[in-house]
Amino acid sequence: MSVRIRFFARFRELADPEIVTEVREGTSITALIYAVTENNQAARDAIFDQEGGFRRYVILMQNGARIETTRAGETMVADGDEIAIFPPVAGG
């Protein structure tokens, strides 16, 4: 099955703005993003912490619905899904 991943803002400097990839049934959002950043250490460091979980402040959306970063490991992707990843900023 096929899913589309969209990176926003600063993440676009690290990864392609949009990636369409084939995944196996039963792949979690965490496993999906971990896999597509396999050869991209900068992107992986920006998105994941040292334990391989999402950095908690990252905003994740699955088909326009918010997914808590803490639940991304147990949330599976389905055929045709669009996953969006956005790093909020804090400066003023």
Binding site: R12, G64, A84, F86, P87, A90, G92
Partner: protein, 247 residues
């Protein structure tokens, strides 16, 4: 009622929303948290538009490294408290409004007093510790919070109207890192003017607000996008306080 001078000053926007609208702005009091990158464009445009009272709070002095983006301050202001410099600039822009600069650090024990009886809060600070305090006070007082944040060429904005819309904690349950970040002045220029636009529409009661939506600006690629945000039913700020009010 508007004076003759005010009718002339605001002529072009009175064409847009009438003298009644201008009166609403004149009667309004906004609290601007921060006189830096975002606070500069926000307060300049709100002052020029004739928002009758602006309270602006900051605890910093003007430094040369501020001047690439903090357009409230001039080279001659180096070393002055930012709120003094801000007060001078805003009074020069519009002598028909009241500007109150307060040199203070926003903290849990003073935030409610500082905000006072303001009709809305503009989030122009540089860290989520203070943002979360502003969010809580907005819900406690039932006044809107106009959120903005920037880094580099990137920014985000959202409008929070208690008690119904998603709050800052719903949108950002975990704070993004607040390291001293690179920034070019046009980014707070864009995000700050969006915040000022939201504040003006809210005061006028017109248009459609940026509620339950997070506006995302990518100045590097000139792309604006938005993501939908929802109230989190277990949010400690906006959902619990609603429950308490009902009880």
């Amino acid at each position: 009622m508007l004076t003759e001078r005010e009718q002339e000053r605001y002529h072009r926007q009175i064409l847009l929303f009438g003298e009644e609208g201008q009166d609403l702005l004149k009667e309004a009091h906004l609290f601007i948290a921060g006189a830096g990158g975002l606070g500069s464009p926000v307060s300049l445009y709100l002052a020029a538009a004739g928002v009758g009272m602006l309270t602006i709070v900051d605890h910093d002095m003007v430094e040369r490294t501020n001047l690439n983006r903090q357009i409230l301050h001039r080279d001659r202001d180096l070393g002055r408290p930012k709120v003094d410099s801000a007060q001078d600039t805003l009074r020069e822009i519009n002598p028909d409004i009241t500007v109150r600069g307060i040199n203070a650090t926003i903290q849990a024990d003073n935030v409610a007093d500082l905000v006072g009886k303001a009709d809305g809060i503009v989030d122009a600070v540089d860290n989520f510790t203070v943002r979360y305090l502003l969010n809580e006070v907005a819900f406690a007082k039932g006044i809107p919070l106009f959120h903005g944040a920037i880094q580099g060429f990137y920014g985000q904005a959202a409008t929070i109207v208690p008690p119904d819309t998603a709050c800052l904690r719903c949108m950002f349950p975990h704070p993004p890192p607040g390291e001293p970040a690179p920034v070019i002045g046009v980014t707070p220029g864009i995000i700050g003017t969006i915040q000022a636009t939201e504040a003006i529409k809210y005061l006028l009661g017109c248009g459609e607000l940026l509620t339950n939506r997070l506006f995302i600006w990518d100045g590097f690629r000139t792309r604006a996008e938005e993501i939908r945000v929802q109230k989190n039913a277990s949010c400690a700020v906006c959902c619990r306080s609603m429950g308490e009010k009902e009880a």
